[in-house]
C-alpha cells in the first residue's frame, strides 16, 4: 500500500511519540511576524530558554504595516511598539528579519515561497491560520497560536495529533474568468466550514495540475476556511520550475538532488484516503459570498437564500447572516451595490492576481463613489508589477496603489471599512467586523470579480466584461 504526501512528511519529521500519545513533529521552517510572536518570546525569556534553531526561523512584518506612510516611527504608537519588539527579539536571538528596510518584506505567506524558504516535503509552522498556503508546494504547513510559537522557538517541534486525509479532485478545465478562488469557495460551500475539521485536504485532478503556483497557493490558503488546518498539492514540474533560482533554493547539482527528493515525497498512486470528493471543474462559476462565513457563497448568477431553500435547522444561522448583511432573501447577488473594492491579502495579492485584474480594468474607470485600492502581497510583487506598468493601469482607472502588507483583510493598520460599507474583497474572511468596522460587510470574490464590481459599482459577472 502506498502512502500519501502527508504520511511521508509526517513519518520523516516524527521525533517520537510523546507520553500524551501526541506526535513530536520536527518543524523544518518557522515563520514569525509581529502579532503572534512577542508573547512567545516573553514566555521564552521568562524560562531563560534559547531559540533552538534560529537558522530555521525567519521573520517579516505584515499585519500592522501602514500601506501609505511607512516612515519610522509609525504614526500608530501600538504598531510601532510591535515592530520594535520584533526587531529586538530578532536581534537578541539571531533570527533573520525581512523588515521594511529590505526588498524582501511582505505578507509572510507571500514572501516564504518567493524567497524559496518554502519547499516541498517540509513541515512549516507560523502563528497565523493561513499558513496552509505553503501546502501549495507539497509542504505540510500548520497555523499555530502563540504558545505553540513558543514551543517551536524553544524546541523546533510541535506536539500534535495525526490528521485524517481527504482528497479533493477537481477535474476538467475551468471556464473563462473562473479562478482558483472560485474553486475553493465552491469547495467550502459544498463541504461546509466545518467539513475539514480533523482532516488535511489534498487537492488533485487535472484542474489543479493545470494551475500555476499562485493559484495553488490561493486554494491551499483557504483550506482553513473549510475547517482543514492543512491543505496541500503534490509537487510536480510546475512546482520545481517555480523553485528554480530563488534565494534559498538549492542550486546546481544540489537542485537536481532536491528535485529527486521532492518528487519522492508526492503521494503514491495507490495511497489510500479517508475520504474522496470530486468537483467538476467546468461547472464552477465565478462565486461571491453573501453571508458572514466563507462557506456562504453562490455563483454570481445565483440568489441569496430564502427560507424554503434551506434545511430548517440551518435557517437560524443563514437568517442571522442575511439580516447582518441587510440583504433581501431570494434576491440575485448580482447587482448588489458596493462602496469599497480591495485587492490584496495572502489569498490573492500575487503578481498573477494583479495581472488578471489589470487586464480587465485597462483603460476603464472605477465607478463614481467607489473607493478602490490594490495592496500588493510583497515588495517584490509590487516592484515586478511596476516593471510591467500595472501600477499605472490601476492608478489611471482610479485604484490607489499601496505598499505591501495585510491591510484591509483584517484592518490592523489604518485601512478599514467605515460604518455599514460593503466591500468587494479578494481576501479570505467575511466575518462580522473583519475589515475593521463592526458593522462593515465583506463580499469575497476573485480579484477579477473585484475589478468588475469596482467598475460598475455593483456585483457584476466578470465574464460579461471579457472582450
Amino acid at each position: 500500500m502506498g502512502k500519501t504526501l502527508l504520511e511521508k512528511v509526517w513519518d520523516a519529521h516524527t521525533v517520537r511519540t510523546l507520553p500524551t500519545g501526541q506526535t513530536q513533529l520536527f518543524i523544518g521552517l518557522h515563520l514569525i511576524h509581529e502579532v503572534t510572536s512577542p508573547q512567545a518570546f516573553d514566555m521564552l525569556r521568562s524560562r531563560r530558554a534559547p531559540v533552538a534553531f534560529p537558522e530555521r526561523t525567519y521573520a517579516t512584518v505584515d499585519h500592522i504595516v501602514p500601506t501609505l506612510d511607512q516612515s519610522r516611527p509609525f504614526a500608530d504608537e501600538l504598531a510601532e511598539r510591535m515592530m520594535a519588539a520584533l526587531e529586538r527579539n530578532c536581534a537578541e536571538y539571531g533570527i533573520r528579519f525581512s523588515d521594511l528596510t529590505t526588498e524582501q518584506q511582505g505578507i509572510v505567506h507571500v514572501i516564504g515561497p518567493e524567497l524559496g524558504l518554502t519547499q516541498p516535503g517540509m513541515t512549516i509552522a507560523c502563528g497565523d491560520s493561513h499558513t496552509s498556503t505553503h501546502g501549495a508546494f507539497g509542504a505540510v504547513a500548520f497555523g499555530i497560536g502563540s504558545s505553540q510559537v513558543r514551543d517551536v522557538l524553544a524546541s523546533q517541534c510541535l506536539a500534535i495529533d495525526p490528521l485524517k486525509i481527504r482528497r479533493i479532485t477537481v477535474d476538467g478545465a475551468l471556464g473563462p474568468a473562473v479562478y482558483a478562488k472560485d474553486v475553493i469557495l465552491e469547495i467550502i460551500a459544498r463541504l461546509g466550514v466545518t467539513g475539514g475539521v480533523g482532516y488535511a485536504y489534498e487537492y488533485a485532478g487535472s484542474a489543479v495540475d493545470a494551475m500555476s503556483m499562485d493559484e495553488r497557493m490561493t486554494i491551499c490558503n483557504m483550506s482553513i476556511e473549510g475547517g482543514a488546518r492543512v491543505g496541500y498539492v503534490n509537487p510536480d514540474a510546475t512546482t520545481f520550475e517555480y523553485m528554480k533560482g530563488r534565494p534559498f533554493t538549492p542550486s546546481g547539482d544540489a537542485f537536481e538532488r532536491a528535485t529527486a527528493w521532492w518528487s519522492s515525497m508526492a503521494s503514491d498512486p495507490d495511497a489510500s484516503y479517508h475520504d474522496e470528493v470530486v468537483i467538476e471543474g467546468p461547472a464552477v462559476e465565478p462565486r461571491v459570498t453573501w453571508g458572514i462565513n466563507p462557506g456562504q457563497s453562490v455563483g454570481v448568477r445565483g440568489r441569496i437564500p430564502k427560507p424554503g431553500d434551506i434545511d430548517g435547522s440551518e435557517w437560524a444561522s443563514v437568517s442571522e447572516a442575511v439580516e447582518f448583511m441587510g440583504f433581501e432573501p431570494g434576491a440575485p447577488i448580482s447587482g448588489t451595490k458596493i462602496d469599497v473594492a480591495f485587492i490584496g491579502s495572502c489569498t490573492n495579492s500575487r503578481l498573477s492576481d494583479l495581472r488578471e485584474a489589470s487586464r480587465i480594468i485597462r483603460g476603464q474607470k472605477v465607478a463614481h463613489g467607489v473607493k478602490a485600492l490594490v495592496v500588493p502581497g510583497s515588495k517584490a510583487v509590487r516592484l515586478a508589477a511596476e516593471q510591467e506598468g500595472l501600477d499605472q493601469i490601476f492608478e489611471e482607472a482610479g485604484f490607489e496603489w499601496r505598499g505591501a502588507g495585510c491591510s484591509m483583510c483584517l484592518a490592523m493598520n489604518s485601512d478599514r471599512l467605515n460604518g455599514r460599507e460593503v466591500c468587494a474583497s479578494s481576501s479570505n474572511r467575511n466575518f462580522k467586523g473583519r475589515q475593521g468596522s463592526p458593522t462593515g460587510r465583506t463580499l469575497l470574490m476573485s480579484p477579477a470579480m473585484v475589478v468588475a464590481a469596482a467598475l460598475t459599482g455593483e456585483v457584476t459577472d466578470v465574464r460579461d466584461m471579457l472582450s
Partner: protein, 197 residues
C-alpha cells in the same frame, strides 16, 4: 515545564448561542495591537456586545460564570491565541460546545483551558437550565468526561491526547518537547534539506 494537573471544575455557566462564532468576534483584531495578552478579558466579544443589547457577556447574572456553553464550530477562523486568552482572562475555565475549530482547541489546551464536546441535546438542556436560573451549578470532570447539573449526568468528549495532557499536567508541552533533545537533533540531521542536498 510541568504544570498542575487539570481535572474537576465546579461553577456556574454562561450560554452563548449560535454556530461558527469566530475568533474575530471573540476578540476583534484591533485588540491584537499589543505585545502581551494583558487586558484582553475586558474586550471579549466587544463588537457583539455593542451590537446586541442582551449579549450574555454583558449580562451581570453570568459575570461569575466559569464554564462557557457554545454550539457548533466555536472559535473558527484566525489562529490568534488572543481568543482563548481573552476568555480565560474574563474568567472562563472550561468550554463545552457541540464542536470546536481545531486551532482554537489546541490553543486553549496550551493555556490549560479544557474544551469538551457534548451532544447537541445535552447542550440545549444545559443552556435552557442556565438561562432559566443563571446561578445553576455545574460540575465537569476531565477524568470521567462528564458534565453534571441538577440531577442529570451527561457525557463529554475530548481527544485522548488532550485529556492525557490535562490529567498529567503536561498541557504546556515545551518541557516535554525538550526532554530528549538529542532525538530532535538526530531527526533534523536525517532530513536532506537540513543536512544539505
Amino acid at each position: 515545564m510541568k504544570e498542575s494537573a487539570i481535572d474537576q471544575f465546579t461553577g456556574s455557566a454562561i450560554p452563548l448561542r449560535g454556530d461558527n462564532i469566530d475568533t474575530d468576534r471573540i476578540i476583534p483584531a484591533r485588540y491584537l495591537k499589543a505585545v502581551t495578552f494583558e487586558g484582553l478579558g475586558d474586550h471579549v466579544f466587544e463588537d457583539d456586545r455593542t451590537s446586541m443589547s442582551n449579549h450574555p457577556f454583558s449580562n451581570p447574572s453570568y459575570r461569575e460564570a466559569t464554564i462557557l456553553l457554545a454550539n457548533q464550530n466555536f472559535g473558527s477562523g484566525s489562529s490568534r491565541e488572543h481568543a482563548p486568552q481573552a476568555l480565560k482572562r474574563w474568567g472562563i475555565q472550561a468550554c463545552v460546545a457541540e464542536s470546536f475549530s481545531e486551532i482554537f482547541r489546541g490553543n486553549s489546551l496550551a493555556i490549560g483551558l479544557p474544551c469538551f464536546t457534548a451532544a447537541p441535546a445535552d447542550l440545549e438542556f444545559a443552556m435552557c437550565c442556565v438561562e432559566e436560573s443563571p446561578g445553576t451549578r455545574l460540575a465537569v470532570s476531565v477524568s470521567d468526561l462528564t458534565l453534571q447539573m441538577l440531577d442529570k449526568t451527561m457525557t463529554l468528549e475530548m481527544p485522548d491526547g488532550m485529556r492525557d495532557a490535562l490529567l498529567k499536567g503536561q498541557w504546556d508541552p515545551t518541557g516535554m518537547l525538550l526532554d530528549r533533545f538529542e532525538e530532535v537533533r538526530a531527526a533534523a540531521a536525517d532530513l536532506p534539506y537540513v543536512a544539505g542536498f
